[in-house]
């Protein structure tokens, strides 16, 4: 009674083909960012600026600050991941489950602290500059990454882990082959939040002389130059949008197949 079963063929195609038009819609965000960015920069080129404004809106200065901002965001994000991923994995092991509430509680304190407060506190205790700002950023944004790592691992179907153990997978292989790949969507969502958050919070680093686009905003405020302030803010917003867009693409690419 050997029956060879044929599966419905249509199913596959439906799942793989994205709705019409989504290809060019993907490019909408970077196009808009480029357009607004070009318009902003263009304005600083052609508008009549006084010497104070011209100094803080020169192309070289903007590029420097943009680069610093990207550096602040990238380094803090890498550090956050280096802390949150292993810690999240560790506390979601069966023999560490008891510690979950405590870890989340501590991480929550970080989140509840206003970033300005954290930055100023650190500046007062550690000193001003790049690294205190990095520490503040890490403290502030480690939670979403940590929480999403934990939640991502927890939502993996217990029956799958049972099946994996039952066919003789050692614990590390269950983690690497089953738990982490299946947790990837949730973990990536956390990383994406962290990244975008860090772009915004990194702007506050300008207050303690850590550089970044925040410095342009601070300069605008200090010198009562709304144009400077506006350009700085717009650039920060555009960077955040762009980072979110890139993170979205990466998320899509790393999404495990078959889900």
């Amino acid at each position: 009674m050997s029956t060879t079963v044929t599966a419905p063929r249509g199913q596959e195609k439906q799942q793989q083909e994205a709705p019409i038009g989504s290809r060019w819609r993907v490019l909408l965000t970077p196009l808009a960012v480029l357009l607004v960015g070009a318009a902003t920069i263009g304005y600083t080129r052609f508008a009549e600026l006084d010497s104070t404004e011209a100094r803080s809106l020169s192309l070289g200065f903007l590029a420097d600050k943009l680069w610093e901002h990207i550096g602040l965001t990238t380094i803090s994000t890498v550090l956050v991941l280096a802390i949150a991923l292993p810690l999240g994995v560790l506390v979601s092991r069966r023999w560490m489950r008891w510690s979950t509430p405590a870890v989340l509680g501590i991480a929550n304190v970080g989140q509840a602290t206003p970033p300005v407060g954290a930055i100023v506190l650190l500046a007062a205790t550690v000193g001003i500059g790049f690294w205190p700002a990095i520490i503040a950023l890490v403290v502030y944004s480690v939670l979403p990454a940590l929480r999403n790592t934990m939640v991502g691992l927890q939502q993996v179907d217990a029956a799958l882990i049972d099946a994996a153990r039952g066919i003789g997978m050692p614990a590390w292989r269950v983690l690497a082959k089953i738990e982490l790949p299946l947790a990837v969507p949730v973990i990536l969502a956390g990383i994406r939040t962290t990244l975008v958050l860090n772009v915004g919070v990194a702007a506050l680093a300008g207050f303690i002389g850590a550089g970044g686009l925040g410095e342009i905003v601070v300069a605008g405020v200090n010198t009562s130059r709304p144009v400077t302030l506006l350009v700085g803010s717009i650039l920060i917003a555009l960077l955040a949008l762009l980072v979110d867009w890139i993170a979205g693409l990466v998320t899509k690419a790393l999404q495990p197949k078959g889900l």
């Binding site: 009674m1 050997s2 599966a7 039952g166 050692p170 495990p256 078959g258």
Partner: protein, 416 residues
């Protein structure tokens, strides 16, 4: 410590020992499992032997400890005390992960890894055993074929793209990957619709015919237990064995009212359902092959006082009936006769079929006789309505005798 002696020290060595593919016995000796924080034991001093190559069903209400019992065999749960021997080897003396790679494990809803393809799901255990790529992919295709899924079509699909039944076929293939001597199945068909469930149960029996694994099967479905189990252990609270016997014994001779209640009524119909065609006396028709001369066959028919001859091919597979009338005046061989349309078989039944299915086939078939085939479609006999009738009568008679006997035992001194 693995020694290079003749006696294997672990299940891995036992399984790797040449072409040994059949099952090994499992012994549970005074096994107790107590979970911390609960009153009483989940498994309370259980001793049972599961014979090699048999399907043993652990049947009981939910919470009776049957799944716990099963999970102690592959050490997903460690017993509080007692010993478990698999193929005569202590399970505790072996590394759990290595032990489990040689114990097939099938769970409800298959538990396939959704992010891995069907092929990759099946390949997990061979990968862990360090097989070479070519060997793994050949094995994957072989297993897909075995469970009735076309390899080219299914190998690269993801579990989500399969129906529930197909998923569980893959689940069984994954469990069989390293050709383990033992399979543990935890309510594998529980979440499937009734038709798919029946199909897969039949498939499992067909597979078991070929593979003869030792299968421990957990279910709370009485009909499933009766159908699949060579032996059924009916468990009460604390995994206490209330009755451990064949399905027939349990139906005709339930140990106590608990078993009777659990099995439910209609035991005669259930017997018909679980008695296999191969277990009853079959009619034996005169056999012939294509190469036999018609004259010889006619003589044989006359000797046997029969009107029909069954024509078999070189592998003893039934081809068609020929009547005495067709043979009249025929010269040459049987193969020379032109077969009429209605001579060809539209129905053959397997020896694995139940009497109930045989009756069904007889009622639907044009002929009064339906040939029965065994392994590889080899002809083993034929079944008629009177064959079935006789079998029913025998079962009833046996049941009556046993009931009387039980009554006599229950009331000693009272003449029956």
């Amino acid at each position: 410590m693995p020694e290079s002696t003749e006696t294997p020290q672990s299940l891995a060595e036992l399984a790797a020992d040449g072409e040994r593919t059949g099952g090994v016995p499992i012994e549970l000796i005074d096994v107790v499992k107590r979970f911390s924080g609960t009153k009483g034991a989940a498994v309370d001093d259980l001793t049972m032997t599961i014979p090699a190559g048999e399907i043993v069903v652990l049947l009981g209400p939910s919470g009776c400890g049957k799944t716990t019992t099963m999970r102690m065999i592959n050490r997903l749960i460690e017993p509080t005390s007692g010993r478990i021997l698999i193929g005569g080897l202590d399970a505790r003396a072996q590394k759990p992960d290595e032990l489990r790679r040689h114990i097939g494990y099938v769970i409800q809803q298959a538990g396939l890894f959704p992010h891995l393809t069907v092929g990759s799901n099946i390949a997990q255990v061979p990968q862990m055993l360090g097989w070479e790529k070519d060997r793994i992919s050949a094995r994957v295709d072989e297993l897909l074929e075995l469970v009735g899924l076309a390899p080219d079509e299914f190998r690269d699909r993801y579990p989500r793209q399969l129906s529930g039944g197909q998923q569980q076929r893959v689940g069984v293939a994954r469990a069989l990957a390293a050709d383990p001597p033992v399979m543990l199945m935890d309510e594998p068909f529980g979440a499937l619709d009734p038709i798919t469930r029946e199909n897969l149960q039949d498939e499992l029996l067909r597979l078991q015919d070929e593979l003869s694994k030792t299968i421990v099967f957990v279910t709370h479905d009485v009909d499933e237990a009766l159908k699949l189990g060579d032996r059924i252990a009916i468990l009460g609270t604390g995994s206490k064995i209330v009755q451990y016997a064949t399905a027939e014994e349990i139906l005709t001779n339930p140990a106590d009212s608990y078993v009777e209640q659990f099995i439910g009524g209609e035991s005669a119909m259930k017997l018909l359902k679980l008695t296999r065609v191969s277990d009853v006396a079959l009619e034996q028709a005169v056999r012939a092959t294509e190469a036999d001369s018609a004259a010889d066959v006619r003589r044989k028919l006359e000797e046997a006082e029969s009107d029909w001859v069954i024509v078999l091919d070189a592998q003893d597979r039934p081809l068609r009936w020929e009547s005495l009338a067709d043979l009249e005046g025929a010269t040459g061989t049987i193969g020379d006769l032109t077969a009429g349309e209605d001579d060809l078989f539209d129905t053959v039944i397997s020896g694995r079929a139940t009497l109930q299915e045989a009756v069904e086939a007889l009622l639907n078939a044009e002929a009064e006789v339906v040939p029965v085939v065994g392994r590889r479609r080899r002809y083993v006999g034929a079944v008629t309505l009177s064959t079935v009738q006789q079998a029913i009568a025998e079962i009833k008679e046996r049941e009556r005798r046993q009931r009387k006997q039980r009554a006599a035992e229950a009331q000693p001194g009272v003449a029956v």
